[in-house]
């Protein structure tokens, strides 16, 4: 199904198709015999979707585009240091087939010129020539995600005519860059260059590099991420023959071209691009390939020095717990203390990807408060990715804060941040729990002596305030006290009406568990509050779970008891309804107060 990207690709293809400049490579008959004006452009995403246009299934030989892949395999086989001892990474400023080494280092200047590429081939591990080629062919196939095969005719021609490359091989042998028979390395190089690919293959090979070395379709890891970084770096400075500087300035993507007419370009982390059109410019790059990459880079804003925006903070919002308190019901004294001292608890919402610069700005701002507040909440729910250095910086920040007596908690529901040094109890899955925890710290520090014990007598329970002492006595005969321990489920979602529950001591939570199995706390109820009214009054099942958060005493008026009372003493029913109506609206008030800021967050 076409979408807007197909349209953009089609626009680029339409513009470039007009361009018939350049000539076919003609050093072997097979390259000179291809249809000169075939043209294909493919873009592969890092989730493995491929946009195709033109003739994406036409096969052509990979030629020099094989060089970065062979270099990558050599790095895997021998390690960065061993390969660096044989091949430099400096742009040469010379033609790709120069028979010379750097006069000072006496090494090939980089792996993208023939001398460097033949050296890479000589470094591929394997018992014999056949195994070495099979390993290369399999490696290329893994990048493409399908079995690639060598074009025998092209290989035969390359082998028959490749004296210049044989000369390079012997030169490398004479400088001890190659220590075996140089013809073996040159032959392997001819074979790798003769592997047939399509434009679609090439796009997926590029996307595998873009995807940190993992093929986005097969999910096979083909190259380690640090080696991908190295290969892309070398492609950046040396990939487009001696037009590298212009390429970086105009296109700004690591790329490699081949005389088969292919061009491969990579936007790291994002997409792979492939173009195939056989006419070449004087540098040996596909004319339309270069033009198409240039157009795409401009249209799609792909240049790696392109910055979309000026700096922004990774802190999305900042507020105090006085501004956004928890939903926990507090006594008057506690409420007053939190209103007065709530500014000592701060919440910072971070967002985006936390790489060095983003983490730095957040750490700096939070760090400046370390002597001024009692506790901070670092809310990572909207953070997509945390780099290694950012993880270290956040851990150091927390350590630094704690040495100054400032407590910190992290809200990290997915546990993906794996902050080092996090003990249990300081990472919360939701802001509500974190806020409650910070409120407790502030209350302990600033309201220590005045906090009321969390229990009420039956006579003091607010829901029963409208009852006279006579009415209370009548009610009492229908009540039954129950005790629960921390973690007990008192009622479950779906339970039938079980009566009116008055909390006399301890705390209970009402929770909802969603399809994913995540439990969300709706509200915390403490001594003086109640639950079970809806099911009882409307004769419907419970909508939420209710659990004990601590040792809890409740007293229960059963549904039958309520009916009996109501029948015998309508005045008691009236008083109870009044108490319940006021209680319900008070709870709604809390819900509305928290709903507002939640919706705004």
């Amino acid at each position: 199904m076409r979408n807007v990207v197909d349209d953009i690709v089609a626009e680029v293809v339409a513009v470039c198709r007009e361009n018939r400049a350049g000539a076919l490579a003609d050093y072997i008959p097979e390259l000179a015999a291809v249809a000169p004006d075939t043209f294909s452009l493919c873009i592969a995403t890092t989730d493995g979707y491929v946009y195709e246009s033109g003739d994406p299934a036409i096969e052509f030989t990979i030629q020099s585009i094989s060089k970065p892949f062979t270099y990558g395999l050599a790095l895997s086989d021998r390690g960065l240091a061993a390969v660096a001892a044989k091949i430099d990474v400096e742009p040469s400023g010379e033609p790709f087939n120069e028979i010379s080494l750097d006069p000072i280092t006496e090494r090939p200047r980089n792996p993208m010129i023939n001398a460097g590429a033949i050296t890479s081939a000589s470094l591929i591990a394997g018992e014999d020539a056949a195994e070495r080629f099979e390993r290369l062919r399999t490696c290329f196939s893994d990048y493409a995600g399908r079995e690639l095969v060598m074009n025998d005719a092209v290989y035969a021609s390359e082998a028959r005519t490749g004296h210049r490359n044989r000369a390079i091989g012997h030169m490398l042998r004479s400088f001890d860059i190659i220590t075996d028979n140089p013809d073996d390395a040159v032959d392997l190089y001819f074979r790798q260059c003769s592997i047939d690919i399509t434009c679609r293959d090439l796009a997926l090979m590029a996307a595998t590099l873009a995807n940190n070395g993992t093929n986005p379709v097969t999910q096979q890891r083909v190259l380690a991420p640090d080696l991908v970084e190295r290969v892309l770096s070398v492609m950046t400075t040396c990939g487009m023959y001696d037009a590298a500087g212009d390429w970086v300035a105009e296109v700004g993507l690591p790329a490699k071209s081949g005389v088969g007419g292919g061009v491969l370009a990579v936007l790291p982390g994002q997409i792979g691009i492939a173009v195939h059109s056989p006419r070449l410019d004087s540098h040996g790059n596909s004319v339309r390939g270069v033009q198409a990459c240039r157009e795409l880079s401009k249209k799609l804003e792909l240049h790696f020095m392109h910055v979309t925006r000026a700096a922004r903070s990774s802190i999305r919002a900042r507020y105090t717990i006085a501004e956004v308190p928890s939903r926990k019901r507090r006594t008057q004294t506690e409420q007053a203390a939190l209103a007065k001292f709530g500014y000592l608890g701060r919440i910072f919402e971070l967002h985006g990807d936390l790489l060095f610069a983003g983490a730095e700005s957040a750490v700096r701002e939070i760090s400046e408060l370390r002597d001024e507040v009692d506790a901070v909440i670092i809310d990572l729910r909207r953070v997509d990715e945390v780099g290694g250095v950012a993880r270290r910086m956040l851990a150091d920040l927390r350590h630094d804060l704690s040495t100054r007596g400032c407590e910190s908690v992290v809200v990290d529901p997915d546990g993906q941040m794996r902050l080092p040094g996090d003990g249990k109890g300081v990472v919360f899955a939701d802001v509500e729990s974190a806020t409650e925890w910070v409120e407790e710290i502030i209350l302990a520090r600033h309201c220590g002596g005045d906090r009321q014990p969390p229990s009420v007598t039956l006579a003091d329970h607010p829901l029963l305030a409208p009852l006279t002492s006579n009415q209370l006595e009548r009610l009492q005969s229908e009540l039954k006290d129950l005790e629960f321990l921390r973690g007990d489920v008192i009622v479950r979602r779906g339970d039938p009406p079980a009566g009116l529950f008055l909390v006399l001591s301890g705390e209970v939570s009402t929770t909802l568990t969603d399809k994913d199995g995540t439990t969300h706390r709706i509200t915390t109820l403490s001594a003086g509050m109640s639950f079970g009214e809806i099911p009882m009054l409307t004769d419907t099942d419970f909508l939420v779970d209710v659990r004990a958060d601590s040792r809890v005493t409740v007293t229960v008026l059963s549904a039958d008891g309520f009916r009996k009372l109501a029948a015998e003493y309508p005045d008691v029913k009236l008083a109870l309804l009044e108490g319940m109506a006021i209680g319900a609206y008070a709870q709604m008030e809390i819900a509305i107060r928290t709903l507002g800021p939640t919706a705004a967050r």
Copy 2:
């Protein structure tokens, strides 16, 4: 105040300080006379904070680090094409002071070698030599954010001994690259190289480049963003003399060094780095400068080919409006229709920065549904930045959807996305309104004939269900009908108790307006619902605003009327309280149902 970044900087400085390799530049006495082992490392962020270490206030001459800045000013003065006609952008592979041009193009190979830099100087606009230098000096000062001055002694030495550069000047004149007196351009070049800077200045100059050309402290725009992109590209391939390839592979930051011992490096969009230590390696780069950048790049994960993660979708969550309905109260028939057809309305939550690749994956997924759903909501609240191409892609997507009969709305509370072609009414500030809008589309398409008129008679109002007809008659004498028009405020937050409001027809919203002036809809009430109970029962002020969303009829029982009724007919009060308690819990149920998913989002 120290933070963890200071610690990381200190670690790097401690490691590099051990290194005493290299020698001072000695071609003029002023450079040979400096203290050889001074060392400073500064990092400036794109919000203008500077981390300093060592001796950040020691002055040294900018030397070749002036080249990218002069090149940038030449690009501003003459335009990309005119400058490109005089200076190429290819790495040279030759020493910086080579007296030669590219043999084919007959131009300096790039603006970072002396020949290119002298050409850049010759392109600076100005009436005379004094004005041209003053423009350069002011430009450099704007990058640094303070007045910079030229070091007269260094300039005098450079001018006295600079025969090689004069030779380059005359060579440029002989090839008509310079068309005026070449000595003027060479003299300007000597002057620009002799400007004194500190390591702190250099960090801010780098940060100005990182910040898209705007000085992060003064907020002055010094260079246009597209020219910054060009300057950074050239620094990438040609900035570190003939060690550019190794620099890109190992450090991976656009950079420039000078023989004064300075090194400047840029992480686009993020930070500027500056190092000063006068001992140079054989390439003419500061030994400790190179080492410090290498260490920092590794420690802080700054390499520009470094990809933190594999691909991820820019769609954070996807659900149907059947799964997360609006809070609007619906009739039974409507509820049934929405339960059955709600899957035809889809909500897509996007997040992160929408550049090409992110927008592509989102557009592709949404686009595939175009023949299968009635409407989509594209929720951009968590999107940080939208690139130009992403904006076009989203606009095209919406157009494409609408041609298939699929409506789309965008949720964009900040209006920052400025999607082209957006008419009023299709961009919403919140998901709630967008969801209601989509529900209306689905109801219109699939429930057209069956929708009930949105009104109830007094006798049918659910809150009055517990009343007998006698009780209803008694109540009726205390009721007063009121009409409101769309937009009217019925009660305001802070109003005293005004009675019990029963909605008979039309719709009202309860809303909260936060500190920022943003209004959040709490719930929508329609015929058969009520408000005003809390204030009346508890004798407190209104907590929310209530507005008419359409023409509305309500009937009101005043607080006095309620007291009078309660005194005369306790049975009426009982029935009303029962109705209110049931109504309150029903409303809470809705609040809880929406609170759960909201908290989960």
